[in-house]
């Protein structure tokens, strides 16, 4: 049909060249609010001529009868009108909802989704609003296939890890995050309400951003005003409360006492206590939170503006304010057209946040203490003071409530992020742009360590209080300059060429001071300032170490890039990028790298044979391939610097400043270190059916990361164990990620009043290490237990990165005869009789002799799981019925494993109720080993008994809103009034015994070791949205 139309137009335009021209005038209005839209393109189809609407949405154009007028404006459906005899044509443009018309930010420019050839996903502001996140990352979980969000802490304000398409490096796997083109490493500075869209570039087309884009790119666009629109205010506010989403099943005092007697083999308890303390209940509290956001936007003929302020105050479910977080942001976005050709834009975001910190994650953490402290201890002693933990057998376990009270640690961040850009259009097809972005952040970390006594022999006991004030200043800037050439040749050939340079500089400075003993014997946090201490506040860095560069860092990037995008009739799409990146992180020989990528697309549905399809709305096939470089390593690893720890004593110092300070080598150097390269191939399709009601996106990818930059363990003879030293970075391996991503969305109306939308996405990820450049064939990391020196995780060819390396078990030894029979057949290399399984007794875990050498040795350790999920899924459902709207989302992760490592192995440390099913004699259990005290193969060896399946399904969000009818609120000057109730993180279905199966820890080699994560809270909110 369209082809015929085109043909007709072509013929008619040829014929009408000599015919009479008509003057047509009209106004273009938005269907949203009936306001005029300026700058709407009004073009004569098939001719290189046209005009645009003025400030009042009016246009005037000369055209022949039969000509086709095309009205287009970003964000609205394009309309075509065939000119008959009318003299005026008024147009009402509908905002476009069809996914393919969406504008996608693809780096140094935008594209219509239809023309995109890469794997790009967009999360719009509407989806973000529904999820009510406190952090941007929370809005991505479950929304975008292939994007996985984990966090090592659920405490308010703590960061989240974003992983796009698996873990491709065991170094830094963070994606590049740009907010309005500005590199923002820490998303806590961004108020989710300010975000217009989040664009995720998942494949090699991210290569336009070159360095650091290897882990994917997240482009965040903040809200801006629209030209010639009236001033509008929006207010979004909610109040809510949070509760822990889970409690561990721990033994009650009675069972605990029995267990202790059993474990120690002695009668430690003669009476089994019936009552005691549920330390978890004592520690977890209901914590309030509130958020308010006010923004205003509008525009004049030549300018558009938007500004806003927001405030978030969130207390923690552990310790309330002691782990609380508050954030104040203010934001400004302003565009001004100096002339028709010269446009300026600027944005600024200022953030002030304060976060209180409690010790988390591992021995010494509040939750670790709450989990492990014996449940028969009372919270308070007879004097009403917090109970001391007097039994020395609870090594380093203290009363968590006393600990909370004595913890005073606050991090304060002041950050300003600003961008400034100029676009100059010349010679019609050329545009030159210069964009400058900067961030300046001051981070203060103030700690007061009061004198405290928790019981005999505790490492936290303190008799000299200390004030520790650390600070850091971070500065970076990016300056991008580029020229864009856009043209259409012979109507069908659309070309866009980009040529640009980018430089990036980041630097920082650390400082601080430590003061000891508050004056006048004070132990009060109110007096805790450095100036008010008796001891001279010794600086964090002594002058000598400052001279050695211990307190500063700086690194730079410089890049040149070129991109062309070409399409023929919007049907055949082709795009290529070449980028040359230079990084200060590499030595003179390896500073520069060339990274090409290319992609193709085919809008199949534009072809004749599908033009008339009644069911297929659109279909696009696309493929991409590219190489992206990665330089995320420590600075100057190619040089051997003298910034190691080298302090000795002349034995008569009275002050820290008098110590002998020398030099020693810091991190070991590797002059050969070179770019890590990631090769990504992606094929995908986008399809829409039944008038765009059903949308499907499918992608399949492989990513091979070569020359992986890692700092592996190295031989001790190199001296990397010296204080202040570390292993060198080497290019040492290849990791492959393969996966499939599928997303389907269905939106429809049933009658006038009922609209619904639903979507489901599923991603698989298969991680395999293909090659490790290491003499022993593996790299290792991660640690189990405390002071056991047991390394948990390995990176080794043929296994997923960071797989758990330990003993496989096969039930329990049921009796001595079974052990004796195995011993009888066990011999060492010299033929001497040995124990089959040293240390094993009846009721202990039976390790599997995987190598079949007739004895249990280190060599029997094998792959007993890995922390990487095989599959993640997101579900979203929303509907509107008259004034009521409802939305819900869920996220599932399947196939990841987690190591249960939050239990202290001391006799008097509490255990999970799983220990109630323990072996107590032959035949009593074949899964849970006997209770032991002290050294035991059950607790001191890393076996699959400690590895659990951490698959889960989480109901992330449920929200019900009510929007008041227009007529009810008009009188009070409102345009929109909506109230809602919302619940986040409502419930998690999992078999995992720990607090939070979604948490993650550590670097890729050593992830998934649960040392007692601060769980993500369940949150219930009542909120209000106003627009006026």
């Amino acid at each position: 049909m369209k082809i015929r139309l085109l043909l007709f137009l072509f013929v008619s335009s040829t014929l009408t060249m000599y015919s009479q021209q008509n003057q047509v005038t009209g106004t273009v209005l938005s269907s949203e609010d009936n306001s005029p839209i300026p700058q709407v393109n009004v073009l004569l189809k098939g001719q290189n001529s046209g005009t645009s609407t003025d400030f009042d949405g009016n246009y005037q154009i000369s055209a022949d009868k039969g000509a086709v007028l095309v009205f287009s404006y970003i964000g609205f459906e394009t309309q075509e009108v065939i000119l008959a005899d009318q003299k005026s044509i008024h147009i009402i443009l509908e905002p476009n909802t069809a996914a393919l018309e969406e504008i996608v930010v693809v780096g140094y420019g935008t594209q219509r989704k239809k023309e995109v050839t890469g794997a790009v996903a967009v999360v719009g502001s509407e989806a973000i609003e529904k999820l009510n996140p406190q952090r941007v990352e929370q809005a991505l979980q479950g929304q975008v296939a292939g994007v996985n969000i984990t966090s090592s802490s659920g405490s308010p304000g703590s960061g989240a890890n974003i992983r796009i398409r698996g873990i491709s490096t065991n170094g830094d796997s963070r994606p590049l995050i740009l907010v309005d083109g500005n590199v923002i490493e820490d998303l806590s500075a961004i108020n989710p309400n300010d975000i217009k869209s989040v664009n995720v570039l998942k494949d090699a087309t991210a290569g336009i951003y070159g360095v650091r884009a290897a882990n994917g790119v997240i482009l965040i666009v903040t809200k801006s005003g629209r030209k010639d629109s009236p001033l509008k205010f929006t207010v979004d506010s909610f109040y809510g409360f949070q509760q822990t989403a889970s409690y561990l099943d721990l033994m009650k005092p009675y069972d605990f006492a029995q267990y202790v007697n059993d474990a120690s083999g002695k009668t430690k308890y003669t009476v089994y206590p019936e009552t005691g303390t549920d330390w978890q209940k004592e520690v977890f509290q209901t914590a309030p939170m509130l958020s308010t956001n006010v923004s205003a936007s509008g525009g004049t003929e030549k300018s558009a503006y938007s500004f806003g302020v927001s405030y978030l105050d969130q207390e923690g479910i552990v310790g309330l304010d002691k782990s609380g977080y508050s954030r104040l942001t203010s934001r400004l976005s302003y565009q001004y057209d100096l002339t028709d050709d010269l446009k300026l834009s600027t944005t600024a975001i200022y953030t002030h946040s304060e976060k209180n910190n409690l010790p988390e994650n591992g021995i010494g953490a509040v939750l670790y203490n709450a989990v492990n402290l014996n449940p028969d201890l009372a919270v308070y002693d007879q004097n009403g003071e917090y109970s001391l933990v007097k039994d020395i057998k609870q090594i380093e376990i203290i009363n968590p409530l006393a600990q909370i009270e004595n913890t005073h640690n606050k991090s304060i961040v002041d950050k300003i992020s600003a961008t400034f850009g100029v676009d100059y259009t010349f010679l019609e097809n050329f545009k030159v742009s210069s964009k400058f972005q900067m961030n300046h952040a001051v981070v203060l970390d103030d700690t007061f360590l009061p004198n405290a006594y928790y019981g005999p022999g505790k490492g936290n006991n303190r008799t000299t209080n200390e004030v520790i004030d650390f600070g850091a200043v971070y500065d970076d800037y990016t300056w991008d300059n580029y020229i864009t050439y856009t043209n259409t040749f012979n109507e069908d050939h659309n070309l866009n060429v980009l040529l640009g340079t980018s430089i990036f500089n980041t630097e920082g400075l650390y400082y601080g001071a430590i003061g000891r003993q508050l004056k006048d014997g004070s132990n009060s946090v109110a007096d805790a300032t450095i100036e008010n201490t008796e001891g001279i506040g010794s600086p964090r860095f002594q002058p000598e170490s400052i001279a050695l560069g211990a307190n500063v860092f700086q690194s730079r990037l410089a890049s040149v890039f070129a991109r062309f995008q070409y399409n023929y009739q919007g049907k055949y799409l082709l795009s290529g990028v070449v980028r040359r990146d230079g990084s200060s992180k590499f030595g003179p020989e390896n500073k520069f790298g060339y990274f090409p990528s290319g992609s193709i697309g085919w809008n199949v549905s534009e072809e004749d044979f599908l033009q008339n399809s009644s069911w297929l709305s659109s279909l696009k096939l696309r493929a991409s391939y590219g190489i992206i470089g990665n330089d995320r390593i420590r600075d100057f690893v190619f040089l051997s610097r003298l910034n190691g720890e080298a302090v000795y004593s002349s034995n008569d110092e009275v002050e820290e400043a008098d110590l002998l300070r020398g030099v020693a080598e810091g991190g070991l150097s590797n002059p050969e270190v070179r770019w890590e390269k990631q090769k990504t191939a992606n094929i995908g399709l986008d399809a829409a059916f039944l008038d765009n009601r059903i949308n499907i996106t499918v992608d399949a990818y492989t990513k091979e990361t070569e020359d992986l930059l890692i700092a592996p363990q190295v031989s001790g003879v190199l001296g990397a164990s010296a204080p202040g030293s570390s292993a060198p970075f080497v290019n040492a391996g290849t990791v492959q990620n393969k996966g499939l991503e599928f997303r389907i969305a269905y939106a429809d109306n049933i009658g006038e009043d009922f609209k619904f939308n639903t979507s489901f996405n599923i991603s698989t990820n298969e991680n395999e290490v293909l090659f490790v450049e290491s003499e022993n064939g593996f790299q290792q990391g991660g640690e189990y237990g405390v002071g056991l020196g047991i390394i948990t995780s390995r990176m080794e060819a043929g296994h997923p990165i960071g797989y758990f390396y330990g003993y496989e078990t096969d039930g329990l030894y049921q009796n001595q005869a079974e052990i004796d029979a195995l011993d009888a057949l066990a011999f060492d290399e010299d033929g001497e009789s040995i124990k089959y399984h040293s240390g094993a007794e009846p009721g202990d875990l039976k390790f599997v002799d995987t190598n079949g050498d007739g004895k249990i040795t280190e060599e029997d350790k094998t792959n007993i799981g890995d922390p990487i999920a095989d599959m993640t899924m997101g579900f979203n459902l929303g509907f509107n019925y008259r004034n009521i709207d409802f939305s819900a989302s869920a996220f599932a992760s399947l196939g990841g494993d987690m190591v249960r490592d939050y239990e202290r192995k001391d006799t008097y440390a509490n255990r999970g109720t799983y220990m109630l099913d323990r072996w107590t004699g032959e035949g009593t259990s074949n899964t849970v080993p006997r209770a032991t005290s002290g050294k035991s193969i059950n607790t001191d060896e890393f076996s699959d008994f400690l590895v659990e399946d951490a698959s889960f399904l989480r109901i992330q969000n449920i929200q019900v809103g009510y929007t008041f009818d227009q007529y009810m609120i008009e009188e009070i000057g409102m345009e929109k009034v909506r109230v809602y109730i919302s619940a986040n993180n409502v419930h998690t279905f999992t078999n995992y015994q720990g607090y939070d199966p979604s948490a993650s820890s550590g670097s890729p080699i050593g992830a998934g070791i649960d040392k007692g994560f601060y769980p993500v809270a369940a949150t219930y909110m009542l909120g209000l949205n106003l627009k006026f």
Partner: protein, 523 residues
């Protein structure tokens, strides 16, 4: 035309920008780079401090060495095995996969060698007065670290080179890549020969007295050389005479003396640090805060907390701690009546209120306990940094080593030196050696046991004198008489295996040396 000009100038500007970019990424690091250092005397001195710094990490060697011996059991908390790897070493059941202390000592001593080698590698870059002294100290430190490695692991891997006619430890750092080519010395005697050469060179240029007490002296180098000759004597008995010569040089220098009377009473106190009997001392201080994040970054000593009685101990002088490293009754019985050293060495807990450690003996090592006085001025985390210096080589040790060397090589001074040590201990000559006492060498060995108890030497003395098997046999017989409840465990010492410790398996793997270096026999 105008357009062409515009476009051309744009491209020229672009090209200029691109070129400028290349210089933009040349960032100069702040602070010195190791290959461009040693440009002044101060820089040599700074690098030397770095080499000294690693001495402070030797608390692991001392503590672990103590526990390896028959005189001291691991201890720790009563029913659990805190530090199970130390318990393993106590029982000699450690394996090549036991990584904690056995690997730390390996890694840290090699790091110490590399820091000394850094100076030696660049020793010829600049000349100035006093350089010889600095270089000589570096040689001493390299020898000290290498000797520790040889004591623990036997014929260690070393880079060597020929200087003059002599094979020497190479004056260069072991750099990345070298770990794959470095070879094990032929045997431990060969390692001793290499270390001896370093010390001979150091002795030539070290002064008898230094301007600061932390610096090694000629006497320290001679004493260490004499000690190594003594160890070497196990394999080559001609070395005993050489040992006697070196140790006599220390004795005859007149630079050292046994502290007597009140001074003797305080040799283990703060006041006794760097005293007249200190030939070489590792300096510790507690003025810098220390944290768990990097224990070896501390300038303090870790042993004092580790070895103090467990709470609720509340002594007058000493802190409470974690109850490791417990002297056995047999050690206590080895002190004769009237021996003042017993009171100075052993903390007898009879009648004291404290938590018993696993394998409680009722005794603690007194020499390196943390004091409450120190606790009051100490900063940082409680357990980590106490100021107690480690008396690495004491004059009493020199006298006894020399006595042993004389006894082994037919020298005449053996009894005199032994008696000098005894006389101080008993306050008179009543306990002088007589033939009635039996073998003189045995008497010297026994004297070492009590004089040097709790200092980490005993295990290595047993090994080099081939007495380990017998000593652990006695120990195991004693264990058999003990109440099982207390938790003493027999030691599974094997000859031709447990004289040295295994190279950690992971270290063999990391150097691709499972086959080339091979594991120590028996592991």
């Amino acid at each position: 035309m105008k357009n062409i000009f515009k476009i051309t100038s744009l491209f020229i500007a672009f090209a200029a920008l691109t070129t400028a970019c290349d210089d933009y990424v040349e960032v100069e690091p702040i602070g010195p780079v190791s290959d461009n250092y040693f440009n002044s005397q101060e820089e040599y001195e700074s690098a030397l401090i770095g080499a000294y710094d690693m001495l402070q990490a030797t608390f692991w060697n001392v503590l672990t060495g103590m526990i390896a011996s028959d005189d001291i059991v691991a201890g720790g908390d009563s029913s659990n095995y805190d530090q199970p790897t130390l318990q393993d070493i106590d029982q000699m059941v450690h394996t090549q996969s036991s990584n904690n202390q056995i690997r730390d000592i390996w890694n840290l001593m090699y790091a110490g060698m590399n820091r000394a080698n850094y100076i030696l590698e660049f020793q010829n870059k600049l000349d100035f007065d006093g350089k010889e002294n600095i270089i000589a100290q570096a040689y001493f430190l390299r020898a000290y670290y290498a000797f520790e490695l040889a004591k623990w692991y036997g014929n260690i891997p070393l880079l060597t080179e020929t200087r003059g006619e002599t094979t020497r430890i190479a004056n260069k750092r072991i750099l990345f890549g070298d770990q794959y080519v470095i070879k094990r010395a032929k045997d431990v005697a060969a390692v001793y020969t290499l270390i001896e050469e370093d010390l001979k060179e150091a002795i030539q240029n070290l002064p008898v007295a230094q301007d600061e007490s932390y610096k090694v002296t000629k006497g320290a180098a001679q004493a260490l050389l004499g000690k190594i000759y003594l160890y070497h004597g196990t394999f080559d008995d001609t070395k005993f005479a050489a040992a006697a010569t070196e140790l006599d040089a220390v004795i005859n220098s007149g630079a050292y003396s046994l502290a007597q009377g009140a001074k003797f009473q305080e040799i283990w106190d703060l006041e006794g640090e760097n005293g007249s009997g200190s030939v070489f001392e590792v300096q510790y201080t507690s003025v810098e805060g220390a944290g768990w994040g990097c224990i070896i970054c501390s300038e303090g000593n870790y042993i004092p907390k580790f070895t103090a009685p467990r709470s609720p101990y509340n002594g007058n002088k000493y802190i409470a701690g974690w109850g490791f490293s417990l002297p056995t009754q047999m050690l206590v019985d080895a002190f004769k009546d009237g021996d003042a050293r017993k009171e100075l060495s052993i903390l007898d807990m009879a009648g004291e209120n404290y938590s018993e450690s696993r394998g409680n003996t009722g005794y603690f090592n007194k020499k390196y306990l943390g004091t409450k006085a120190n606790d009051a001025t100490r900063t940082g985390s409680d357990p980590l940094n106490y100021t107690n210096n480690y008396r690495a080589i004491r004059y009493a040790d020199v006298l006894l080593m020399s006595a042993e060397a004389h006894a082994e090589s037919g020298g005449t001074k053996a009894a005199d030196y032994l008696n000098e040590v005894r006389a101080r201990a008993f306050g008179n000559n009543s306990e002088d050696y007589t033939a009635a006492e039996g073998d003189l060498l045995e008497a010297i060995y026994n004297e070492r046991r009590v004089e040097l108890s709790g200092e980490g030497h005993r295990f290595f003395d047993l090994v080099r004198t081939n007495k380990a098997k017998a000593a652990f046999g006695t120990f195991n017989a004693w264990v058999a008489t003990q109440d099982e409840e207390i938790g003493h465990m027999p030691v599974q010492y094997k000859d031709n295996k447990n004289e040295i410790f295994p190279i950690p398996l992971v270290e063999l793997e990391l150097a691709n040396a499972v086959d080339t270096w091979g594991q120590n026999a028996g592991y």
